[in-house]
């Protein structure tokens, strides 16, 4: 579904992505793990078209997309729930979800919204409240819900568990598992490598802009080097 080859991106003079190649197949959950500053978020930004790339190709459903502006990529089905939620604080929960479906013109928008309310009942309860007043966990649910409202073919999740209590982390992870059961394709970026690999089919390990390990999630979970560096296990 998604093929990235030799992708490079820089902030000014500093090259953050130094030739990334990876692929995501339809229906897969792929985890991208690595430490702070490795380039995970930059990669997702480059995929969404909000970070310029200096070299390389991105192919989505057989077509080059690396030259497209952000809104065109959303129209093709690449939706992102960004790091740090980035919800529309002054707008209501309901408006945030409606804006997630900004480019959609079909009649199922209300139905999809109700499905998200079913997935995260707390959002239904607070639908008319200002999104900026939600707790961190609720904002995270809203950010994921907003991305789902865009009818993603590929869902990019950036640090969905960051800063959440263990209980909420489980709830978010369970939501991702249920999305996978529905056939959603997910590229998941996480610092919580253990949790990410446990729910993923495959994983990539990124270090200072390079992919250093790749393989089935179960294999990465038992890889001694990955264990030592990212899972905190000896």
């Amino acid at each position: 579904m998604l093929e990235i080859s030799n992708l490079r991106s820089r902030y000014g003079r500093i090259e953050v992505l130094k030739g990334i190649s990876l692929d995501v197949q339809t229906g897969e959950v792929v985890a991208l793990i690595g430490s702070n500053g490795a380039g995970k978020t930059t990669l997702l930004h480059a995929l969404s078209g909000v970070q310029p790339i200096s070299d390389g190709q991105v192919t989505f459903l057989g077509e080059r997309i690396d030259g497209l502006p952000a809104h065109r990529r959303v129209a093709r089905g690449i939706l992102q729930s960004p790091e740090g939620r980035q919800i529309f604080g002054p707008l209501t929960v309901e408006d945030n979800l409606r804006l997630g479906a900004y480019l959609r013109r079909d009649k199922d928008i209300a139905e999809d919204r109700d499905r998200i309310f079913g997935m995260f009942p707390i959002l239904a309860e607070k639908r008319n409240q200002i999104a900026g007043g939600l707790s961190g966990g609720q904002q995270q649910m809203l950010a994921i819900g907003r991305a789902l409202m865009g009818k993603p073919k590929l869902l990019l999740l950036d640090e969905p568990s960051l800063g959440l209590s263990p209980l909420l982390v489980d709830q978010i992870l369970a939501a991702i598992v249920s999305l996978r059961a529905l056939g959603m394709t997910v590229l998941l970026v996480e610092q919580n490598a253990m949790a990410a690999l446990e729910i993923a089919d495959r994983g990539y390990v990124i270090e200072t802009g390079h992919i250093v390990h790749a393989g089935p999630a179960s294999q990465l979970l038992s890889d001694p080097k990955v264990k030592a560096a990212y899972l905190g296990l000896e």
Binding site: G49, Q86, F88, L99
Partner: protein, 290 residues
Amino acid sequence: MPEFFQFLVSGLTIGAVYALVALGFTLVYNASDVVNFAQGEFVMLGGMVTVFVHAAGVPLPLAALVAVIVSVVLGLSLYWLAIAPARGASAVSLIIITIGASILLRGAAQIVFDKQFHKLPAFSGDTPVQMLGAAVQPQSFWVIGGTAVMVLLLYVFLERTLLGKAVLATSANRFAARLVGINTTTIMALAFGGSAAIGGVAGILITPITLTSYDVGTLLALKGFAAAMLGGMGNPLGAVAGGLLLGLLEAFGAGYISSTYKDAFAFIVILAVLFAAPQGLFGRRTIERV
């Protein structure tokens, strides 16, 4: 008491115009973070184009429509030709660009039109209406009513339409707006066009009372900016409240203290606001939990 009411009406009338200019500032600022100091020139254009098109024999409503269209076209040109190519420049650079644009528009108006003062006929006659002992010009009702209609239209657009919500979303979080598929470039162009239209309408409404010439924009931009600051930059309701308040301050200040310093009141206010409450009376308080 009659003079109090007289001052009140004239304050609300001029305040309504400041409110419209401040709304223009707010709309552009929210969508793009640019403080558009060319905002006053659209008020000038609204008045001047109507005067000249009307003088050429076109009926007043049609001339007014032409003036609004000209304002919008120039507002969009300002965005596409001067602001969009400088995307990513610092706020100061963008402000200087808008100041440059305002000088250009003023200079062009001087050549295309002339340097005289011009008047438009009042929309419904010049016979003052007696109210509570004050003589109110009928045009005042047009200005205040027209402003109310513009504010209402803007409110309905922002709160009730998806495109309006996209404008609000862009002002709340431009990055996230791009991630949900909002073309933020279009939204910014829309804000420039919309604020030019608002300015143009303000110019058409007020010209029968205050006259117009090629250089009325500068002072109006400063007053509108002061009003926007007073209300809290970025808050549409604050802009309206700030505009009306500034108009009232001017009218009462000129009436009860000294008309010599009429224009100074606006700037005393802006200084006081900047010193005492930089976020304005209704400044945006961002609530964001981490």
